[in-house]
C-alpha cells in the first residue's frame, strides 16, 4: 500500500480527534502565556528575556518550598513567587540593562542566557531530584471545571488562557495609548535618543522590567500547575513559546498569542496520529521555520542597525 494512503487511513476519525483540539487549546494557552510575556518585555525594553521560564520556575519552587516546608498559606506563597519574579527580573534589568544598553539586541538576549544558566544551576543545587522526589503544585482551581464533549476542562486551563488574553489586550493598549507606553516603545527602539527627549529612562526601564518579572512569576505558577514543577522543563518550555514570538517577527503581541494557540492545537492534534506522534514536539520549530524561511523569503529580517 502506498505509504501516504496508509498514513491517511491511520488518521483518527473526527470523533476521536475532537477532544485533542480541546487539550490543544489548553496547551496553546500555556505557550501563549510565556510567548506573550517575552514579547511584552521585548517591546518595552528591547531585550528578549530568555530567562523568563527559569525565573518562573525558581519562583514556583520557592512557593512550593514555602507551602510544604514552612506551612505558609498557599495564596501568600504564590504572591511571594510573583514578587520574586518581579524583583529578580528588576534586579537583572537594573544591573545589566544600562551596561548593555548600547549593544545589539542579540548581545542583550545572549546575556539573559547567562542569567538562565545561573538560575538553572541554583535550582538544581537547592532542589535536587534525589531519591526520585517529584514535586507538584496544585491550584485549588484544578478541582473545578466543566465538560466539553467527553473530557473535563479545569478552571486553571481557563485562567491560563484568560491571563494570556488579558496581558495581550492590556499591554497592546498600554503601549499604544498611554504616555508611559509610548515612552517604552521609544526606548526599546533607541535608548539614547529617548533619553535626550527628556523621558525618565531609568524609571521607565525599571517599570518595564518589574512588570515583566511579575508576568514571569505569574506564568511560573500557572505553568507549574499545568505542565510540571520541574526546573528543566519549565526553563526550556520558553523555546517552544519563542517559536510563536518568531512567527510574529518579535513585534506583534496579538500575533504571538494567536500563533501560540495554533502551535498548541496542532501539537495536540498530531498526538493520536501514530506515524507522527513522536515528532509532534517539533511542531513549534517546524511552524516557526516555515514562517520565517518561506513566508519571509522575499524580505531581509533584521533588527539592528549594527551587527554583534
Amino acid at each position: 500500500m502506498h505509504p501516504l494512503i496508509h498514513l491517511a487511513l491511520s488518521l483518527p476519525s473526527w470523533q476521536d480527534e475532537q477532544p485533542f483540539l480541546v487539550t490543544g487549546l489548553a496547551l496553546g494557552g500555556v505557550y501563549a502565556l510565556s510567548g506573550v510575556g517575552m514579547i511584552v518585555l521585548f517591546r518595552t525594553t528591547g531585550v528578549l528575556n530568555l530567562s523568563f521560564g527559569a525565573v518562573g520556575a525558581f519562583g514556583a519552587l520557592i512557593a512550593w518550598q514555602l507551602i510544604n516546608h514552612s506551612g505558609m498559606n498557599q495564596w501568600l506563597a504564590y504572591l511571594v513567587c510573583v514578587l520574586f519574579g518581579g524583583v529578580i527580573t528588576l534586579a537583572y534589568g537594573m544591573v545589566f540593562g544600562p551596561a548593555l544598553a548600547r549593544r545589539d539586541p542579540l548581545v542583550k538576549t545572549t546575556a539573559t542566557l547567562g542569567l538562565t544558566l545561573i538560575l538553572l544551576g541554583a535550582m538544581d543545587l537547592l532542589w535536587t531530584s534525589n531519591g526520585g522526589a517529584s514535586r507538584s503544585i496544585s491550584l485549588p482551581t484544578d478541582n473545578h471545571g466543566f465538560m466539553v464533549g467527553q473530557i473535563q476542562v479545569t478552571t486553571t486551563d481557563v485562567i491560563a488562557l484568560a491571563v494570556g488574553i488579558v496581558i495581550t489586550v492590556v499591554t497592546t493598549a498600554f503601549l499604544r495609548y498611554s504616555k508611559l507606553g509610548t515612552a517604552m516603545r521609544a526606548m526599546a527602539n533607541d535608548r539614547e535618543i529617548t533619553a535626550t527627549l527628556g523621558v525618565p529612562v531609568r524609571r521607565v526601564e525599571a517599570a518595564a522590567w518589574f512588570g515583566c518579572g511579575i508576568v514571569a512569576g505569574l506564568s511560573g505558577i500557572l505553568l507549574a500547575d499545568l505542565v510540571a514543577l520541574d526546573a528543566t522543563t519549565l526553563t526550556f518550555l520558553v523555546i517552544s513559546s519563542l517559536a510563536a514570538a518568531l512567527i510574529a517577527r518579535l513585534s506583534s503581541i496579538w500575533i504571538t498569542f494567536v500563533a501560540a494557540i495554533i502551535i498548541g492545537v496542532v501539537d495536540a492534534a498530531v498526538t493520536p496520529i501514530t506515524a507522527l506522534t513522536n515528532y509532534r514536539d517539533m511542531t513549534p520549530f517546524v511552524l516557526a521555520a516555515i514562517a520565517l524561511l518561506f513566508l519571509n523569503r522575499k524580505r531581509t529580517l533584521s533588527l539592528a542597525r549594527q551587527e554583534f
Binding site: 551596561a99 542579540l106 538544581d124 517552544s240 523569503r297 531581509t300 551587527e307 554583534f308
Partner: protein, 361 residues
C-alpha cells in the same frame, strides 16, 4: 562602528586581493607551538592518569567544536545556538559509517565532516537572509527540531536500515576505533593530531582571503559590500567551515565515547557551548582551546574534588554575563585582569564609569 581588533593580527595594509604578508617572528612562534603540540602528544599520556587522559581527549574534541563556533561568532559575528546539534549530526554520520561499512577511520572522519558541511550550508543558505537575533533564534529552533528527531531516530548502534538503530539489542556493540589508536592514550594522540589539522585549516582560512573578507564583514557589512566583497558567499563559507570542523569533531567523539546517546545532545549543551566560547574568547584561536578546557577538563577536576557540577553551570552563567558586559574579547586577553576583577565583579560594576567610557563593540 568599530569592532574589537582581532588580537595578534596585523591590520592588513594591502587591499584584499594581495597575498598575505608574513609577520616577523612568525616562524619562531610556529616552532614554539609545534614543540608544544609534540609535548602534548607524547608527554601528556605518560604523565596523566587514564581518567585525565580521557578528559583531555574530550578537551581536544570540544576545542575543535569551539573553534567552529568561534569562526561564526568571532570572525563573522553570527551567533549559533545549535552547535551541539551539528556535533550530533557529525557523530551520527560517523557512527553510521563505522558500523555499516569498513571504511578506514580517516575516510569516515572526512565523510562526516563533508556531510555535516553540506547540511550546514543547506541550512545556512536561507538563514543568511536573517541577521543577528533572528539568526540566533532560528538556529535555536533548528537545534530543537534536531533534538526531537534524534530522540526518535537515535544514534546508530549496529542495527540495520537507514537509521542503523536496533532498540531491542541486549548487547550494544561499541563503536570501533582506528587500528592505530585502540587504547585510550593512543586515541588521545589521534584526536590531538586531528584537532591540530582542524586548527591549521581554520588558521589558513583566517590568514588568507576569506579571513580578510570576514574581518571586513565584521567591521561593517555595507562597507564590505561596497568594497565589492560577496558577503553572502563568505558568510556561507563561514557556515561551511564551522560545520565541517564540527562534523569532524563529531566523528572523533564517536570513537572516543564508543557509545552515543541522544540524551547527551540537549539544548542546554548548545547554550553552555556558547557560554564557554564567549568566556574563552571567540576572537582568537587560543580561545577555542580555553573553551575546550573549561567545558571538559574543569568538570573532570571538579568531579574529582567532589564538587557538585551545578556550580559549574552557575559559573558559566556568570562568565557569560561578565564577558558580555566587560570583556568582549574573552579570557585569553583578560586573564591577568580577570582574577582580580572576578572578585570585585559585583562591586566593580557599580563603580564603573559613565557610558562614554564603555568599550567599543
Amino acid at each position: 562602528m568599530a569592532t574589537a581588533q582581532l588580537p595578534g593580527e596585523a591590520k592588513p595594509k594591502t587591499p584584499p586581493s594581495a597575498p598575505p604578508r608574513i609577520e616577523r617572528g612568525f616562524y619562531t612562534r610556529a616552532a614554539i607551538i609545534a614543540v608544544g603540540v609534540l609535548l602534548v602528544i607524547f608527554l601528556l599520556p605518560q604523565v596523566l592518569s587514564l581518567y585525565y587522559v580521557d578528559a583531555m581527549t574530550q578537551v581536544a574534541i570540544y576545542a575543535v567544536v569551539a573553534l567552529g563556533l568561534g569562526v561564526l561568532v568571532g570572525r563573522v559575528g553570527l551567533i549559533s545556538l545549535g552547535q551541539a546539534a551539528v556535533l550530533a549530526i557529525g557523530a551520527w554520520v560517523a557512527a553510521r559509517l563505522l558500523f555499516g561499512t569498513s571504511l578506514p577511520y580517516e575516510v569516515v572522519l572526512l565523510a562526516s565532516g563533508v556531510i555535516t558541511m553540506l547540511l550546514g550550508t543547506l541550512v545556512g543558505l536561507p538563514a543568511l537572509r536573517m541577521r543577528g537575533l533572528y539568526l540566533a533564534l532560528i538556529t535555536l529552533m533548528l537545534a530543537g527540531a534536531i533534538t526531537v528527531v534524534l530522540a526518535s531516530l537515535n544514534f546508530p548502534n549496529g542495527g540495520h536500515g537507514f537509521s542503523g538503530y536496533n532498540g531491542a539489542l541486549l548487547h550494544i556493540p561499541p563503536i570501533r576505533r582506528p587500528g592505530i589508536a585502540q587504547t585510550d592514550p593512543a586515541y588521545f594522540r589521534y584526536s590531538v593530531v586531528v584537532a591540530v589539522i582542524m586548527f591549521l585549516i581554520v588558521l589558513i582560512h583566517v590568514r588568507t582571503k576569506p579571513g580578510r573578507a570576514w574581518a571586513a564583514i565584521r567591521q561593517s557589512e555595507p562597507a564590505a559590500l561596497a568594497a565589492g566583497i560577496n558577503t553572502t558567499f563568505y558568510k556561507l563559507w563561514a557556515f561551511a567551515l564551522a560545520s565541517f570542523v564540527t562534523g569532524v569533531a563529531g566523528g572523533v567523539l564517536a570513537g572516543a565515547v564508543r557509545y552515543l546517546y541522544s540524551i547527551d545532545f540537549q539544548t542546554q549543551d548548545s547554550i553552555t557551548l556558547l557560554a564557554v566560547v564567549l568566556m574563552g574568547g571567540a576572537y582568537s584561536i587560543w580561545g577555542a582551546i580555553v573553551a575546550g578546557l573549561l567545558l571538559q577538563l574543569l568538570p573532570a577536576i571538579l568531579n574529582d574534588l567532589g564538587v557538585n557540577p551545578d556550580w559549574l553551570v552557575i559559573l558559566f552563567g556568570i562568565g557569560v554575563l561578565q564577558v558580555l558586559t566587560t570583556a568582549p574579547t574573552g579570557i585569553v586577553d583578560q586573564m591577568p585582569k580577570d582574577i582580580a576583577r572576578l572578585a570585585r565583579f559585583i562591586g566593580g560594576l557599580g563603580r564603573r564609569s559613565s557610558p562614554a567610557k564603555e568599550p567599543a563593540q
